[in-house]
């Protein structure tokens, strides 16, 4: 190896060392843990190598519940939050006055602490012996029955969870989409107007294709983020998510490691890798779809 070919590697060395220690090695280690059957963390021993851990996790009702919750959350919140963000961004883009003010207001949730916001949501939705909560007051006002959103029926909990998730992820999406909209050359809209395109057609044929790379970016990161949901659930439903029936995959992994019934790194690793495979599959599908429909500008 000549001197010239050593040099670039030398420059890369610091990054490579850190990446190897903190990314590659843990990934590899998780893989190893996940195939070690009957691993005992105290004695550092295991019985054999195989896929038993995966089979166990996939049969665990808590994991299946977490899987179901996560999927429902993803399917509801990703399209909903992207759609709402697009509507709000279009609104923001078309108002000339107070644009900055509204942008700031919409961005506030992004810089607010998740747990604090969760607490606020809990107060809004929680039913206590003293009060039914603000939302229930509203429902009663319009003649409806009180619903216990935090400890009540499954759909109500999913509703609160989705509502919360959408609310939390909106600011970032609005930020990205407003800047994407602002980057579309206004002369294209003028040209489209001269060409006789209606507002709907301008949106479908010009605006949407021009900002589609950003929409795909938001959908992909939205999927990944929603699959990794955990902290938000804790903020609203407390730490015992299994009891609340609102656990997520990441929550399951955490419980398997540190929870009351924890101490099973092998099961946790297997669950984590299952999550990894799901996210990988979805992302690849997303990328393929976006490549087929994307524009080369």
């Amino acid at each position: 190896m000549g001197k010239a070919s050593v040099k670039p590697w030398l420059y890369l060395l610091p990054a490579l060392v850190f990446l190897s220690i903190f990314m590659v090695y843990p990934l590899f280690d998780v893989l190893v843990y996940s195939v070690e059957e009957g691993y005992n963390s105290a004695s550092q021993t295991f019985f054999g190598v195989g896929l038993y851990n995966y089979a166990y996790v996939l049969r665990d009702p808590y994991f299946l519940q977490a899987l179901k919750n996560t999927f429902i959350l993803v399917i509801i919140t990703v399209p909903l939050s992207t759609g709402i963000a697009l509507l709000i961004s279009l609104g923001l883009h078309s108002i000339p006055k107070f644009k900055e003010l509204f942008q700031t207001i919409f961005f506030l949730p992004y810089v607010t602490n998740t747990l604090a916001v969760g607490l606020v949501f809990m107060i809004l939705f929680k039913k206590t012996p003293y009060s039914d909560g603000f939302i229930n007051l509203l429902i009663n006002f319009f003649g409806g029955q009180s619903v216990d959103f935090i400890e009540g029926p499954y759909w109500a909990k999913i509703f609160v969870m989705s509502f919360y998730t959408v609310w939390v992820v909106l600011p970032f999406k609005i930020l990205i989409l407003t800047s994407a909209l602002a980057s579309v050359d206004p002369v294209l809209y003028k040209a489209a107007k001269v060409d006789g395109a209606s507002r709907g057609r301008i949106f479908r044929r010009i605006t949407l294709p021009m900002i589609s790379p950003m929409i795909f970016y938001l959908v992909i990161t939205g999927f990944i983020g929603a699959f990794k949901a955990y902290a938000d659930e804790v903020a609203i439903f407390g730490t015992n998510l299994n009891a609340a029936g609102m656990n997520t995959i990441v929550g399951f992994v955490y419980d398997m490691l540190y929870g009351d019934s924890g101490g099973y790194p092998s099961y946790a690793s297997a669950a984590a890798l299952i999550l990894f495979m799901i996210v990988l599959t979805i992302t690849v599908i997303n990328l393929l779809v976006s490549r087929r429909t994307s524009v080369n500008v």
């Binding site: 489209a192 060409d195 006789g196 057609r201 021009m210 500008v297």
Partner: protein, 364 residues
């Protein structure tokens, strides 16, 4: 289609909010564009020519005044109902659509009875593309085309609906010098072939003069002069028009009328019978000088620029407003020295007098 503009005025709110009030971009513009002609709308940057074009197009509503296409008052009509095609300075091609899709776009927007069948649309797009000679590039995206090709696509898109009026906003400014020459002839050819009334905006007087049937010179939102390019060049109405047209620019001196003759300094240059004594601004076209050993006008010559076709004498004169006087003489005129005093005679038709205060023409 004849275009008639009557008392067209456009005011914008002042960007500097503290100053308040309005900025008048176009001021009481009155002009009729004859049917089937190519009109060059000419003026320096910021003179309101693009605003005027946008008003004809329908992208900007006028503050007051009316716009007629033929006998139809189109002032209130949106652009799509006016029957205009527009080529933007940056072309404004849709980057995610192919050339064919770009050209088809205006046709696909037609609704109701005007809606064409797919085959007719394709045929029309094909025809427009052939007219501008880009029918080989139909499947490319704009990003894969050169500037000149993009320009042609923009023209094809503007023409595909067979507009009554074609508007071009600085169509050549993004092209390199050689392509500019070629493209302006191309625009002329396309306009002749289609016979569509065409208005094109430019700040380049050479561009406007070379291909227009008629030019319209604007300054600070006000129409200065209209006419055939040569007419306007030979007979400018004021100092602005005289200075704006022609390269090299007209040479401007300070002079006087005394005893019915034009003086620059103490040299008596031309007889101007019937004009009262006054200070005047004298404009002399570079080609208005003739080398003549007995000529009345003397200048200090700095150097000689040989252009092949003709020769430019770079001279100085104390009464000249600027650095150097440019006098163009035929190259067969023998210039023996390349410095020292030269004597010249003036061609009266190339000398224009203006009032020093208003810049208005003083005719003699």
């Amino acid at each position: 289609m004849k275009i008639r503009l009557t008392h067209l005025t456009k005011e914008f709110p002042n960007k500097n909010k503290k100053a308040g009030g309005f900025v008048t971009a176009v001021n009481d513009f009155d002009f009729t564009i004859p049917d089937g002609k190519l009109i060059g709308l000419l003026g320096p940057s910021g003179c309101g020519k693009s605003t005027l074009l946008n008003m004809i197009c329908g992208l900007e509503p006028p503050t007051s005044g009316r716009i007629f296409f033929g006998e139809d008052d189109v002032t209130e009509l949106p652009p799509e109902n006016r029957g205009v095609g527009m080529v933007f300075q940056s072309y404004a091609l849709y980057p995610h659509l192919t050339v064919l899709q770009n050209i088809l776009f205006p046709l696909e927007n037609l609704k109701g009875k005007e809606r064409l069948s797919k085959d007719v649309m394709n045929a029309k797009a094909e025809e427009a593309a052939r007219l501008v000679q880009i029918d080989q590039l139909m499947d490319r995206k704009p990003g894969e085309l050169s500037g000149g090709q993009q320009q042609r696509v923009a023209i094809a898109r503007a023409l595909v609906k067979r507009p009554r009026v074609l508007l071009l906003d600085e169509p050549l400014s993004n092209l390199d010098a050689r392509l500019r020459l070629q493209t302006r002839e191309e625009i002329r050819r396309i306009q002749k072939e289609t016979g569509i009334t065409t208005v094109f905006v430019t700040h380049d007087q050479e561009e406007a003069m070379s291909i227009s049937d008629e030019i319209v010179v604007m300054s600070a939102g006000v129409l200065q002069q209209t006419g055939m390019p040569q007419e306007v060049y030979d007979d400018p109405i004021n100092l602005f028009v005289a200075m704006f047209l022609g390269t090299p620019a007209i040479n401007v001196f300070s002079g006087q009328i005394r005893d019915c003759a034009l003086y620059i300094g103490e040299e008596r240059l031309l007889e101007t019978p019937g004009i009262p004594d006054q200070e005047v601004t004298v404009g002399i076209r570079p080609e208005g000088f003739v080398l003549d050993a007995d000529g009345p006008f003397s200048m200090e010559m700095d150097r000689v620029e040989v252009m092949g076709r003709d020769t430019t004498l770079i001279c100085r004169h104390p009464k000249f407003r600027g650095d150097t006087v440019r006098a163009i003489v035929p190259s067969d005129t023998v210039v023996k020295r390349d410095s020292g005093t030269v004597r010249l005679t003036l061609k009266p038709a190339k000398v224009h007098l203006f009032r020093p205060d208003t810049g208005e023409r003083v005719r003699y």
